[in-house]
Symmetry: C2
Subunit: 549 residues, 2 copies
Amino acid sequence: MVPFGVWLLASLGAAVRPSSIDVSGDHLVQRLWPRPRHVEPLGLGPVAVDHERHQFQAVGCGSSPLAGCHVLSSAFKRYKVLFFPHHADLDSYSLLETGSNSSHLRARRRQLRDVSITKVQVEDLAAELSLGVDESYDLEVSEEGVVISSETTWGALRALESLSQLIDFNFTEESYFVESPCRIQDSPRFPHRGLLIDTARHFLTVPRLKRTITAMSFAKLNVLHWHLTEDESFSMPSRSHPELAEKGAWSATERYTWKDVKDVVDFAYLRGIRVIPEFDMPGHVSSWSKSHPELFDAACLARSRRLAFKPTQETFDFLEGLLREWTSGIFRDGYLHLGSDEVPMECWAHLEVTDERGRSVRGPHRLFSLFVGAIFQRAKKLNRQAIFWDEAFSSASLPEDAVIQVWRDKNLVRQVVNAGHRAVLSWGWYLDHLQEGWKGMYQNDPTSGVPNDQHHLVLGGEACMWGETVDGSDQGNTLWPRLAAVAERLWSRREVTLTAEAARPRLETFRCLLLQRGVEAAPVSGTGRSAPPGPGACTQRAGNWGLLA
Amino acid sequence: MVPFGVWLLASLGAAVRPSSIDVSGDHLVQRLWPRPRHVEPLGLGPVAVDHERHQFQAVGCGSSPLAGCHVLSSAFKRYKVLFFPHHADLDSYSLLETGSNSSHLRARRRQLRDVSITKVQVEDLAAELSLGVDESYDLEVSEEGVVISSETTWGALRALESLSQLIDFNFTEESYFVESPCRIQDSPRFPHRGLLIDTARHFLTVPRLKRTITAMSFAKLNVLHWHLTEDESFSMPSRSHPELAEKGAWSATERYTWKDVKDVVDFAYLRGIRVIPEFDMPGHVSSWSKSHPELFDAACLARSRRLAFKPTQETFDFLEGLLREWTSGIFRDGYLHLGSDEVPMECWAHLEVTDERGRSVRGPHRLFSLFVGAIFQRAKKLNRQAIFWDEAFSSASLPEDAVIQVWRDKNLVRQVVNAGHRAVLSWGWYLDHLQEGWKGMYQNDPTSGVPNDQHHLVLGGEACMWGETVDGSDQGNTLWPRLAAVAERLWSRREVTLTAEAARPRLETFRCLLLQRGVEAAPVSGTGRSAPPGPGACTQRAGNWGLLA
């Protein structure tokens, strides 16, 4: 049954097509990933978007030096290409005539009223990218144009992404359109929606990192957790201690320059993505020993290939100096990840050290607690809040404002927030577990089992892309599409994303969009890093000539 | 033993390092892929290349409208980034101060005399990209600057690529250098060095195609054989017959616009890569039947899922019209691939047609011969020479100027050239055969078994990347690094590339370079599309902390 009013509207519409009579908004929702909080059609479509005349307007940015205006102007350049992918400017000159029928097409297109302005109204153009910054937005598409309203620049970026996903292309008329006028009201469920990358088990080059960051922005992720140092290699530059990377890198070229790292951080910032570096310690630090054996107990160095820092004041001073250099020069975010996972306690079996008050400390667990507590305070001196893996919660006593990343056992989320800490979930989201498919990741809810009054302490989560078998050759198809499942779980309200099966067609559409944009997203039908099983569409469902496969 | 003169030179050098005393050129050759014909050190190094002051000069291009000048100016933009990857311009503004020690670094760098000009001298700036165009070049790097001399623009592009591979980066001084002054004299062994891509078993998007073309240029490949139409799908646009793609594509979005295809051709042209489209026929054409069943015999349509065109004059007229549209509007190359492989002869078991002279023709083999002969002549009317798969050679009689692509049996190369045809080798280079590693591909020589006086009829070869299990998610790591092995076989003289084992360290270096440039090249150690087996350097050889893996 279709209500009478709809047919009436339909009969009045200028360019009505069969699909326009869907008033539920499903035809719009089908195109969007992650799913917005509220999508409402405002009439019948389609609404043409004129790629030749289209312009962006940032209200209040005439000649403003505000940070947000720079971010918007950079975003406008990117989204022009994403709105109109068949008319991206070519790095070339035309070798043959452009063809004769474009005026004909233009005449056909002008039968529709068309949108040529996307207006962006941001309340607070100075709001900085940080944990909890307002990312909500309103997006209205009508024949008068597109209007984006948001509290901050970062919300406007999310709106531009949603708009880019709504714009469809008509191959016959070579024109762009949105299926119907509509309004979207949207905001994220969690403020911390991240991906961990590991550039130590394999080095990842700057072009690769930028491609990953770009793809993250398509899924509205907002944290890149950069696991920079490890047992295996050390590629992070230091001006005060260049020997760390000189001796610790995989090779003479698999290192970053200071500018490389800064470029990555700036590149992410412009896409609304915070970069949180992780300098894993006191374990996972063997590569440091190549240039700084004095950070380790001699007995540990002699006995073990997996080392742990000696928790002395000299070690803390050295580490604080490095963290100061890195945070003042490159990493602007208020948070810093300081590891604390899988410490090889055997390194400390016979160690005894003196703490800052001159007391003697011995025994692996006390030494671990000493280390974590001390490094937390050193980070605090640098105006950084520390995030730790959940071993620090289980084995050390920490101030409440330490953030705990849960990876070993999901039940720890409840315990962590019950102790007053804030939690980030990674359990269930290990993308290097290739056999774990997207559905389980989609259903993994960060607040399940957490009392309602403590939900605010669950900051969100991070998918983890550990690098043992991942480098620039396969990072893309190991990340995607499973990372998209995590991204929707973290952005969208529970009530609009109940089952994986209902999400599946939308995820397939998003996978097609990722391929269209050059992201190496594997088929939805497989597990991690699966090749397409046979000829097929980007949805890789049987269709068309699939029967020949 | 080191000759006396070398030590004398070394003691006179301003900034001599231990590696500079290698006068064999091996230290330079190690960095180059494919291996040049002749590499000669001209003294002791290093030669600094100043990224801040560096400029390109194209002699004779002051305000020239010559095609070659456009190509060079576009190449200069690309190679600036490839020469100085740690100083690529960022699409951003600086968020923090650039740091304080750059003047200090500059002072250190100025101790060396440095290169700030790359001068490009092209004899014939109007020479068009075509089969057999001169791609030779001379490249001389000295403290006075870099001089590239070539007959054509296309040779200059190859020289720029070689130069980009020679430039190294010093992380300590943050400066670029070439290991020693040197001269390279180079030219390709074969004029046709190609890759077949298949956008029909899976659609490949324009961003993906451009990435593939870019990577091809790094290996000095010069032909993209674009297998556009197939049983499974039809994504090629036609203005006269839009219904072909409207009905034949995998989905509403997995199609190209006219401008998309032109953009890809132009993009390839600027990188010195000819695009040869393949419209496979008379078999592999099932997708055409969705919009044009009249091209098929009714009995064939009814009986078979794998169809063959009916070889009638109406069919030829229809095909000629389409080929005219495509060649006049988009595909400028003098060659056109017209398939002819794996024709389902059963479709023609009971068919009888009339040829252009009114004679009745029946029997599958006669009908095949009729088809191939007629379509060859139609292509000729459009000023295009036709390339066919080797079935056309085995089963039909063809004019000598038809080019035959050999895929079923390598011995056919000898037979093909013995019959006076020109041959392109693809046997042994099927990249979709994942179990076939790079070594076998490297050793596969196009002229083996061919008498010397017929070598000139072997145009070269093409690696084939059939698309059954390949789409945008895994094309990169299925192509690379094996495609590089084929590229060196086709570019480099046999006498400098004897064994795969000798080439291996250079291939590993090239794989590292591909990763550095964002190409998804799989590890050299694996078969096709292998993931890295464990933590490691880009060479994926044990090293550093590999022992922890």
